[in-house]
């Protein structure tokens, strides 16, 4: 459980690997009520929208970024701000890694800024993110 008094700039958050399947993507899109065919219709995705394969939802990658933060916080601490950008597409079955590190500590405000990333197998950052969290002393 991170504390404001012990956290340091450069502290790395645990990295987690995510690999989507047709079933996991289906359930995610059902949960957020997203009927976009690029997430379940392979023929449409490749022939009409010209993607190489079924597309992993951008906001699902956003959720994985948020989990890097919430797992680090555990039951303590609050997420105050959270943002990310989807820079490059990812496709069904790709191994993606979500992680981050502490980049700034504001002792007075009691907050810590985290820099976050989703990286693909080539180690390219396809979705950078940032979070501001409030930590217990």
């Amino acid at each position: 459980m991170p504390r404001l008094s012990t956290v340091t700039v450069g502290t790395e958050l645990d990295e987690r690997t995510h690999e989507t399947s047709m079933v996991s993507l289906f359930l995610y899109n059902a949960a957020v009520w997203n009927p976009h065919r690029i997430h379940f219709d392979a023929e449409y995705t490749t022939q009409v929208e010209k993607h190489p394969n079924i597309v992993v939802d951008g906001p699902l990658q956003g959720d994985w970024l948020s989990q890097v933060v919430t797992e680090w916080l555990g039951e303590d601490g609050d997420l105050v701000e959270f943002e990310y950008s989807n820079r490059r597409a990812a496709y069904l079955g790709e191994r993606l890694r979500a992680g981050g590190e502490v980049v700034e500590i504001d002792q007075q405000a009691g907050t810590v800024t985290l820099q976050l990333y989703i990286k693909n197998a080539d180690d390219a950052v396809i979705a950078p993110g940032r979070a501001l969290v409030r930590l217990p002393g």
Partner: protein
């Protein structure tokens, strides 16, 4: 907000924290798309997406997720009755590596029925 919907979301996104897995609290991205208008199947576009009644007809048709910026004021819990207000904050063009792009920026405000602010979302959609 129901516990059942929170648990479904937690399973689909493989949440590890017990508070999310039990549905005691919604994960931070749970409300993504909650502002989307619900329409009948025959009102969906050929790509499956919902026609957005706020948008004029755009010259570019293909839609990609762009990203979000959320500010959290308090967690969402089962039993909450929330009011979501969606506005178009900006529409602008950019030249992308493979052609022109249109960025649509939405602002979503999430409040309780009593007007207590729960969350603010800024969301970008990209048309290519």
């Amino acid at each position: 907000m129901t516990r059942r919907d929170i648990v479904k979301y937690a399973i689909a996104t493989q949440q590890r924290l017990e508070k999310y897995r039990r549905g005691d609290e919604a994960p931070p991205m749970f409300l993504f798309n909650a502002h989307q208008p619900l329409v009948d199947l025959d009102a969906l576009r050929p790509d499956g997406l919902t026609v957005d009644p706020l948008l004029p007809e755009l010259p570019l048709r293909r839609v990609m997720a762009g990203g979000i910026k959320n500010t959290y004021h308090r967690p969402v819990k089962p039993g909450d009755h929330l009011v979501l207000t969606r506005t178009i904050a900006d529409i602008y063009e950019k030249q992308g590596a493979s052609g022109p792009l249109i960025f649509v920026v939405y602002g979503v405000r999430v409040e309780t029925e009593n007007g207590e602010l729960v969350m603010e979302e800024i969301r970008r959609r990209i048309f290519r």
